[in-house]
Symmetry: C2
DNA sequence: AGCATTCTAGTAATTTAACTACAAAATTAC
DNA sequence: GTAATTTTGTAGTTAAATTACTAGAATGCT
């Protein structure tokens, strides 16, 4: 937890002078960071040891250490203590909050990433005869994106965002095929059933989903994304982004595994897009 | 520029003792951050003022200030100075690097965000009779995602990832319609032409694209995303993520503008998804 | 209500860290 | 090889942070 959040959280349990210190810091963390203990104490109208005690209560070694913590949590842009979008927020506020919560989600996702599982997934994908990506709702666009990425690798890849097509595809699946199910909750009935079907046909099933979900039970390999509390107001936000980054990681692992020669393919695809562009066309859409 | 990069950059122009200091810091920035000037001086086998002078040369106010800078650049996880994926990288390394570069991209995107433009875009979207999202290639999945989000708002929304459908749709467009073109480069010929067509029919054209592109010229409003150097190896990565976050921001702005009552709609949509789930179904896919 | 106990805050003293001024050594230029 | 300049270190100074102790406020108990 970052230090400003911690201050905000404990605000109730503070004593009178501690609250004064907290307020001064919260009001202008940037300037608090650059103040000496004496300056800050004067600003909060308390004594220096009070400030010091405050720092200690926040589980830091002392004032200088406290400033380091403060610096770290101010490092990434706006110090929004509360990442939840509020009704009264203007464009500045809600934009910053959404960026904040997205980045926080990515940070936790990174920390909980199981690179061994990723490595195994890359193994499986590189050896696949055919790769399918299945997603529904918000996860459908992630599946589309995955298709777009793996399509460039010149491997048979397909993407379905439709329950029936997914089911049919699973019924006809066979050994050597890899099916990647993308689902944040892992509780979509049709996904669970389709995954079971595919496993039955000896296809390999990879789940990008919650580790403790019914879908995870049916998978040969689970890539779980621990995303910090979804901040979304009734909409998937951070989870989706984390899934996309995971796709990027898998795609990168894939190209690295395939070696240098293979990467020339990618360049060809990219160059091939040029003529559909107005000059300067060096990048993708 | 972050302070570690700056040190790495100036490494050549350092004197003998300065280099010693630099090396100690680069080798263990985390511990340097928590050291006193005396400890660090001893570790580098130089005198204290040398360390102090080093800090000043790095354009900081002194040692404590230097430590703050250090803290800030160590704040977001691993201090990978080089974020580019290397052939020799293992799963740990490339995963970390992709997370790093994605987050760095979001950080720059946030800093360059034009919230006034966002506010205007929200204005336009809330008043639209019909909203269309157009994307091709990697941007197609962003368009799909946008559709998924705005669909929940119970407004007429459509998404095309096909050149011909996009063109036809533009030909039939009229006043009151809003068309959002998503394109990283803004140089896709068909997009530019379709946008011009739509403008001709008095439809409102919003571009999520490069501000200095041909497409931007044709737009009523441009939302540009300044994304730090794309780290991708022949594939779009960070740009896409930033676009999605922008969609989240627009969607959030939309719901806020529509007010509390409107938000009950969203809850209904969410609750409606329940029965397609195995118990515990509180979230989207 | 009054006394005691505990918790809180401030003063003053101490310790520690950071910085300055100056001098010596080393490097470079001529 | 000497002078000039740059680099580095020593010693002293100042400032900042922390500790120990004491006064005051709040709470609890009889």
């Amino acid at each position: 937890m970052n230090i400003l959040e911690k201050i905000a959280l404990n605000q109730n349990s503070f004593s009178k002078s501690e609250r004064k210190v907290a307020e001064i810091i919260m009001a202008a963390p940037q300037s608090a960071m650059h103040s000496s203990i004496a300056t800050l104490a004067k600003a909060a109208d308390v004594s220096e040891p009070t400030v010091n005690r405050f720092c200690r209560r926040m589980e830091t070694k002392g004032f200088p250490d406290f400033k380091l913590h403060l610096a770290q949590c101010l490092a990434s842009g706006t110090p929004y203590v509360n990442r939840h979008v509020d009704e009264a927020d203007g464009p500045d506020a809600y934009s910053a909050k959404i960026f904040d919560s997205t980045m926080a989600a990515l940070e936790t996702a990174r920390q909980h990433l199981d690179t061994a599982a990723i490595n195994r997934a890359v193994d499986i994908l590189t050896q696949a005869r055919k790769i399918s990506f299945f997603g529904l709702g918000a996860s459908a666009s992630v599946a589309h994106d995955a298709q777009n990425k793996f399509f460039r690798f010149n491997v048979p890849v397909i993407c379905f965002d439709d329950v029936l097509m997914q089911r049919m595809s699973c019924i006809n699946s066979s050994e050597g095929e890899v099916i990647v199910f993308i689902s944040h909750t892992g509780r979509t009935k049709s996904h669970v059933e389709s995954a079971a079907q595919a496993r039955n046909n000896d296809a390999t099933v990879i789940g990008i989903t919650d580790a403790n979900s019914p879908l995870a039970q049916e998978c040969s390999l689970v890539l779980s994304l621990e995303v910090s509390e979804d901040t979304d107001m009734y909409m998937p936000m951070s989870s989706r982004i984390a899934q996309l980054v995971l796709i990027d990681i898998l795609a990168t692992g894939f190209t690295l595994r395939r070696g240098t020669k293979f990467r020339e393919n990618l360049k060809r695809v990219k160059d091939g897009l040029r003529e559909s562009r107005f000059n300067k066309g060096l990048r993708d859409h």
